[in-house]
Protein backbone atom coordinates (compact mmCIF):
# COMPACT_ATOMS: atom_id res chain seq x y z
CA UNK A 1 0.00 0.00 0.00
CA UNK A 2 1.41 3.38 -0.93
CA UNK A 3 0.48 7.00 -0.33
CA UNK A 4 -2.13 7.00 -3.11
CA UNK A 5 -3.83 3.93 -1.65
CA UNK A 6 -3.93 5.57 1.76
CA UNK A 7 -5.43 8.78 0.43
CA UNK A 8 -7.87 6.76 -1.63
CA UNK A 9 -9.07 4.73 1.36
CA UNK A 10 -9.45 7.85 3.49
CA UNK A 11 -11.36 9.57 0.72
CA UNK A 12 -13.66 6.63 -0.07
CA UNK A 13 -14.68 6.29 3.57
CA UNK A 14 -16.19 9.77 3.37
CA UNK A 15 -18.46 8.58 0.57
CA UNK A 16 -18.65 8.53 -3.20
CA UNK A 17 -20.57 11.35 -4.90
CA UNK A 18 -23.96 10.41 -6.32
CA UNK A 19 -23.49 12.07 -9.69
CA UNK A 20 -22.88 11.00 -13.27
CA UNK A 21 -19.13 10.44 -13.13
CA UNK A 22 -18.36 9.86 -9.46
CA UNK A 23 -15.00 8.20 -10.00
CA UNK A 24 -13.78 11.09 -12.16
CA UNK A 25 -14.49 13.47 -9.29
CA UNK A 26 -12.46 11.41 -6.83
CA UNK A 27 -9.68 10.81 -9.35
CA UNK A 28 -9.41 14.58 -9.85
CA UNK A 29 -9.26 15.17 -6.12
CA UNK A 30 -6.45 12.64 -5.78
CA UNK A 31 -4.63 13.86 -8.89
CA UNK A 32 -4.72 10.51 -10.68
CA UNK A 33 -6.55 9.26 -13.76
CA UNK A 34 -9.87 7.48 -13.45
CA UNK A 35 -8.42 4.29 -14.92
CA UNK A 36 -5.72 4.22 -12.25
CA UNK A 37 -8.32 4.92 -9.59
CA UNK A 38 -10.57 2.03 -10.67
CA UNK A 39 -7.58 -0.29 -10.91
CA UNK A 40 -6.51 0.68 -7.37
CA UNK A 41 -9.98 0.10 -5.96
CA UNK A 42 -10.17 -3.31 -7.63
CA UNK A 43 -6.75 -4.26 -6.25
CA UNK A 44 -7.73 -3.20 -2.72
CA UNK A 45 -10.88 -5.32 -3.04
CA UNK A 46 -8.87 -8.27 -4.41
CA UNK A 47 -6.45 -8.25 -1.48
CA UNK A 48 -9.38 -7.63 0.87
CA UNK A 49 -8.13 -4.37 2.36
CA UNK A 50 -11.58 -3.21 1.31
CA UNK A 51 -14.25 -5.82 1.94
CA UNK A 52 -17.11 -4.07 0.23
CA UNK A 53 -17.56 -1.03 -1.90
CA UNK A 54 -21.02 0.44 -2.18
CA UNK A 55 -23.91 1.73 -0.13
CA UNK A 56 -23.82 1.82 3.67
CA UNK A 57 -27.40 1.17 4.65
CA UNK A 58 -29.23 2.23 7.74
CA UNK A 59 -30.99 -1.08 8.32
CA UNK A 60 -33.41 0.32 10.87
CA UNK A 61 -34.49 3.23 8.65
CA UNK A 62 -35.00 0.72 5.85
CA UNK A 63 -37.47 -1.14 8.04
CA UNK A 64 -35.04 -3.86 9.06
CA UNK A 65 -33.35 -4.80 12.28
CA UNK A 66 -29.73 -4.90 13.35
CA UNK A 67 -28.72 -6.46 16.62
CA UNK A 68 -25.47 -7.20 18.37
CA UNK A 69 -25.57 -10.72 19.77
CA UNK A 70 -23.25 -12.63 22.06
CA UNK A 71 -22.93 -16.27 23.08
CA UNK A 72 -20.95 -18.25 25.59
CA UNK A 73 -19.43 -20.99 23.45
CA UNK A 74 -17.48 -23.93 24.92
CA UNK A 75 -13.87 -23.83 23.66
CA UNK A 76 -13.95 -27.39 22.31
CA UNK A 77 -16.95 -26.56 20.08
CA UNK A 78 -15.88 -23.04 19.18
CA UNK A 79 -14.94 -23.58 15.53
CA UNK A 80 -18.00 -25.69 14.76
CA UNK A 81 -20.30 -23.13 16.34
CA UNK A 82 -18.56 -20.33 14.41
CA UNK A 83 -19.13 -22.21 11.12
CA UNK A 84 -22.76 -22.72 12.02
CA UNK A 85 -23.34 -19.06 12.93
CA UNK A 86 -21.49 -17.78 9.86
CA UNK A 87 -23.63 -19.94 7.58
CA UNK A 88 -26.63 -17.72 8.36
CA UNK A 89 -26.84 -15.06 5.63
CA UNK A 90 -28.26 -12.64 8.21
CA UNK A 91 -24.99 -12.70 10.18
CA UNK A 92 -22.89 -9.75 9.06
CA UNK A 93 -19.86 -9.83 11.36
CA UNK A 94 -18.57 -12.38 13.79
CA UNK A 95 -15.69 -11.86 16.22
CA UNK A 96 -14.09 -13.88 18.95
CA UNK A 97 -13.69 -11.79 22.12
CA UNK A 98 -11.88 -12.45 25.39
CA UNK A 99 -14.79 -12.75 27.81
CA UNK A 100 -17.11 -15.48 29.12
CA UNK A 101 -19.38 -14.27 26.33
CA UNK A 102 -16.78 -15.14 23.73
CA UNK A 103 -18.56 -14.99 20.37
CA UNK A 104 -19.98 -11.66 19.19
CA UNK A 105 -21.89 -11.25 15.96
CA UNK A 106 -24.33 -8.91 14.26
CA UNK A 107 -27.67 -10.13 12.98
CA UNK A 108 -29.18 -7.97 10.24
CA UNK A 109 -32.60 -8.71 8.82
CA UNK A 110 -34.63 -7.13 6.08
CA UNK A 111 -37.70 -6.79 8.27
CA UNK A 112 -37.66 -5.94 11.94
CA UNK A 113 -39.88 -8.91 12.85
CA UNK A 114 -37.45 -11.46 11.38
CA UNK A 115 -34.61 -11.00 13.84
CA UNK A 116 -36.21 -12.98 16.65
CA UNK A 117 -36.72 -16.02 14.42
CA UNK A 118 -33.09 -15.92 13.20
CA UNK A 119 -31.85 -15.68 16.78
CA UNK A 120 -34.04 -18.62 17.80
CA UNK A 121 -32.73 -20.66 14.88
CA UNK A 122 -29.12 -19.87 15.90
CA UNK A 123 -29.88 -20.99 19.45
CA UNK A 124 -31.44 -24.21 18.22
CA UNK A 125 -28.64 -25.06 15.82
CA UNK A 126 -25.81 -24.22 18.22
CA UNK A 127 -27.37 -25.18 21.53
CA UNK A 128 -26.03 -21.89 22.97
CA UNK A 129 -28.10 -19.10 24.48
CA UNK A 130 -27.99 -15.86 22.47
CA UNK A 131 -27.76 -12.59 24.37
CA UNK A 132 -29.47 -10.18 22.03
CA UNK A 133 -28.53 -6.50 22.46
CA UNK A 134 -30.11 -4.20 19.86
CA UNK A 135 -29.03 -0.59 20.11
CA UNK A 136 -31.31 1.65 22.14
CA UNK A 137 -29.55 4.88 21.35
CA UNK A 138 -26.70 5.87 19.08
CA UNK A 139 -24.36 8.52 20.40
CA UNK A 140 -21.93 8.41 17.52
CA UNK A 141 -21.29 6.50 14.38
CA UNK A 142 -18.32 7.52 12.38
CA UNK A 143 -16.19 4.46 11.90
CA UNK A 144 -13.62 6.00 9.63
CA UNK A 145 -10.08 4.91 10.13
CA UNK A 146 -7.35 7.22 8.96
CA UNK A 147 -4.57 5.26 7.31
Amino acid sequence: MDEIDRRLINRLQAGLPVSRRPFDIIADELGISMDVLLERIQQLLDVRVLTRFGPMYNAVNLGGALSLCAMRVPQDRYDDVADCVNAFPEVAHNYERDHLLNMWFVVATEQAGQAAAVIRAIEQETGCQVYDMPKLEEFYIGLQLTV
Binding site: Q13, V18, V49, F53, G54, Y57, N94, L101, M133, F139
Partner: protein, 167 residues
Protein backbone atom coordinates in the same frame (compact mmCIF):
# COMPACT_ATOMS: atom_id res chain seq x y z
CA UNK B 1 -40.28 7.49 3.26
CA UNK B 2 -42.00 4.51 1.66
CA UNK B 3 -39.86 2.39 -0.62
CA UNK B 4 -41.19 1.78 -4.09
CA UNK B 5 -40.58 -1.53 -5.82
CA UNK B 6 -37.94 0.23 -7.94
CA UNK B 7 -36.18 1.46 -4.77
CA UNK B 8 -36.15 -2.07 -3.44
CA UNK B 9 -34.69 -3.41 -6.66
CA UNK B 10 -32.13 -0.61 -6.65
CA UNK B 11 -31.07 -1.47 -3.11
CA UNK B 12 -30.84 -5.14 -4.08
CA UNK B 13 -28.71 -4.51 -7.15
CA UNK B 14 -26.15 -2.23 -5.49
CA UNK B 15 -25.84 -3.95 -2.12
CA UNK B 16 -22.82 -6.01 -3.11
CA UNK B 17 -21.03 -3.07 -4.62
CA UNK B 18 -21.04 -0.50 -7.36
CA UNK B 19 -19.72 -1.37 -10.81
CA UNK B 20 -16.20 0.00 -11.19
CA UNK B 21 -16.71 1.93 -14.37
CA UNK B 22 -16.93 5.55 -15.53
CA UNK B 23 -20.74 5.65 -15.32
CA UNK B 24 -21.67 3.23 -12.53
CA UNK B 25 -25.16 4.64 -12.09
CA UNK B 26 -25.88 4.22 -15.82
CA UNK B 27 -24.90 0.54 -15.61
CA UNK B 28 -27.24 0.08 -12.66
CA UNK B 29 -30.01 1.87 -14.55
CA UNK B 30 -29.58 -0.52 -17.49
CA UNK B 31 -29.99 -3.49 -15.16
CA UNK B 32 -33.19 -2.01 -13.74
CA UNK B 33 -34.58 -0.62 -16.96
CA UNK B 34 -34.48 2.99 -15.75
CA UNK B 35 -32.33 5.94 -16.73
CA UNK B 36 -29.05 7.02 -15.15
CA UNK B 37 -30.75 10.25 -14.06
CA UNK B 38 -33.48 8.26 -12.31
CA UNK B 39 -30.90 6.16 -10.46
CA UNK B 40 -29.15 9.32 -9.28
CA UNK B 41 -32.41 10.90 -8.15
CA UNK B 42 -33.55 7.75 -6.31
CA UNK B 43 -30.17 7.29 -4.61
CA UNK B 44 -30.05 10.95 -3.58
CA UNK B 45 -33.50 10.63 -2.03
CA UNK B 46 -32.58 7.42 -0.23
CA UNK B 47 -29.55 9.25 1.15
CA UNK B 48 -31.35 12.38 2.24
CA UNK B 49 -34.04 10.23 3.91
CA UNK B 50 -31.26 8.47 5.85
CA UNK B 51 -31.92 5.02 4.40
CA UNK B 52 -28.49 4.99 2.82
CA UNK B 53 -25.84 6.68 4.95
CA UNK B 54 -23.41 7.10 2.09
CA UNK B 55 -21.87 5.29 -0.84
CA UNK B 56 -18.69 4.19 0.85
CA UNK B 57 -16.46 1.30 1.71
CA UNK B 58 -16.18 -1.34 4.39
CA UNK B 59 -12.53 -1.43 5.34
CA UNK B 60 -10.76 -4.43 6.77
CA UNK B 61 -9.24 -2.62 9.71
CA UNK B 62 -6.84 -5.44 10.52
CA UNK B 63 -5.35 -5.29 7.05
CA UNK B 64 -4.88 -1.55 7.60
CA UNK B 65 -2.80 -2.13 10.71
CA UNK B 66 -5.57 -1.58 13.25
CA UNK B 67 -5.05 -4.90 14.98
CA UNK B 68 -6.23 -3.94 18.46
CA UNK B 69 -9.99 -3.71 18.36
CA UNK B 70 -11.45 -3.13 21.82
CA UNK B 71 -15.09 -3.12 22.74
CA UNK B 72 -15.30 -1.15 25.98
CA UNK B 73 -18.51 -1.73 27.92
CA UNK B 74 -19.79 0.30 30.86
CA UNK B 75 -22.41 -0.19 33.55
CA UNK B 76 -23.71 3.38 33.72
CA UNK B 77 -26.70 4.38 35.86
CA UNK B 78 -29.60 4.82 33.43
CA UNK B 79 -30.03 8.42 34.51
CA UNK B 80 -26.44 9.20 33.50
CA UNK B 81 -26.08 7.19 30.30
CA UNK B 82 -26.93 10.06 27.97
CA UNK B 83 -24.25 12.30 29.47
CA UNK B 84 -21.54 9.62 29.51
CA UNK B 85 -22.47 8.49 26.00
CA UNK B 86 -22.02 12.01 24.67
CA UNK B 87 -18.68 12.39 26.48
CA UNK B 88 -17.32 9.18 24.99
CA UNK B 89 -18.70 10.00 21.54
CA UNK B 90 -16.67 13.21 21.59
CA UNK B 91 -13.37 11.34 21.89
CA UNK B 92 -11.58 11.09 18.57
CA UNK B 93 -10.34 7.52 19.10
CA UNK B 94 -13.85 6.21 19.78
CA UNK B 95 -15.45 5.07 16.56
CA UNK B 96 -18.86 3.87 17.74
CA UNK B 97 -20.91 4.50 20.87
CA UNK B 98 -24.26 2.89 21.59
CA UNK B 99 -26.62 2.34 24.48
CA UNK B 100 -27.82 -1.28 24.56
CA UNK B 101 -29.97 -3.27 26.99
CA UNK B 102 -28.42 -5.04 29.98
CA UNK B 103 -28.84 -8.80 30.00
CA UNK B 104 -29.05 -10.02 33.58
CA UNK B 105 -26.27 -10.53 36.07
CA UNK B 106 -24.01 -12.03 33.42
CA UNK B 107 -24.12 -8.87 31.33
CA UNK B 108 -24.74 -5.72 33.41
CA UNK B 109 -23.34 -3.31 30.79
CA UNK B 110 -25.55 -0.79 29.00
CA UNK B 111 -23.09 1.46 27.15
CA UNK B 112 -20.82 0.13 24.42
CA UNK B 113 -18.03 1.87 22.56
CA UNK B 114 -15.30 0.76 20.19
CA UNK B 115 -11.68 1.84 20.18
CA UNK B 116 -9.56 0.77 17.24
CA UNK B 117 -5.82 1.02 17.67
CA UNK B 118 -2.60 -0.45 16.40
CA UNK B 119 -1.74 -2.37 19.57
CA UNK B 120 -3.35 -3.35 22.88
CA UNK B 121 -1.12 -1.29 25.15
CA UNK B 122 -1.83 1.90 23.30
CA UNK B 123 -5.57 1.31 23.37
CA UNK B 124 -5.52 0.65 27.13
CA UNK B 125 -3.44 3.77 27.81
CA UNK B 126 -5.82 5.85 25.75
CA UNK B 127 -8.77 4.41 27.67
CA UNK B 128 -7.12 5.27 31.01
CA UNK B 129 -6.64 8.85 29.84
CA UNK B 130 -10.31 9.09 28.86
CA UNK B 131 -11.41 7.70 32.24
CA UNK B 132 -9.24 10.18 34.12
CA UNK B 133 -10.08 13.16 31.95
CA UNK B 134 -13.85 12.66 32.26
CA UNK B 135 -13.73 11.36 35.87
CA UNK B 136 -15.34 8.03 34.98
CA UNK B 137 -13.45 6.01 37.63
CA UNK B 138 -16.67 5.21 39.51
CA UNK B 139 -18.28 3.49 36.50
CA UNK B 140 -17.60 -0.24 36.23
CA UNK B 141 -16.27 -1.13 32.82
CA UNK B 142 -14.74 -4.06 30.98
CA UNK B 143 -12.58 -4.26 27.87
CA UNK B 144 -13.14 -7.03 25.34
CA UNK B 145 -10.41 -7.27 22.73
CA UNK B 146 -11.28 -9.12 19.58
CA UNK B 147 -9.56 -12.36 18.72
CA UNK B 148 -10.25 -14.07 15.46
CA UNK B 149 -12.53 -12.44 12.95
CA UNK B 150 -14.74 -14.94 11.17
CA UNK B 151 -16.84 -12.79 8.96
CA UNK B 152 -16.66 -9.13 8.11
CA UNK B 153 -18.88 -7.46 5.62
CA UNK B 154 -21.59 -4.86 5.69
CA UNK B 155 -25.11 -5.93 6.48
CA UNK B 156 -27.18 -6.99 3.50
CA UNK B 157 -30.55 -5.40 3.13
CA UNK B 158 -32.31 -7.50 0.56
CA UNK B 159 -31.42 -11.07 1.44
CA UNK B 160 -32.94 -12.67 -1.60
CA UNK B 161 -32.25 -10.95 -4.83
CA UNK B 162 -35.23 -10.95 -7.20
CA UNK B 163 -34.82 -13.75 -9.77
CA UNK B 164 -34.19 -11.49 -12.75
CA UNK B 165 -31.19 -9.80 -11.09
CA UNK B 166 -29.34 -12.91 -10.06
CA UNK B 167 -26.01 -13.32 -11.75
Amino acid sequence: MVLTETDRQLVAVIQDGLPLTAHPYAVIGEQLGISEADVIVRLSELQSAGLIKRMGVVVNHRALGYRANAMVVWDVPDTDVERVGELLAGESCITLCYQRPRRGSEWPYNLFCMIHGREHGGVLRRLEQIIQYHALEHITHDVLFSGRSFKQRGARYVMILPEKFRG
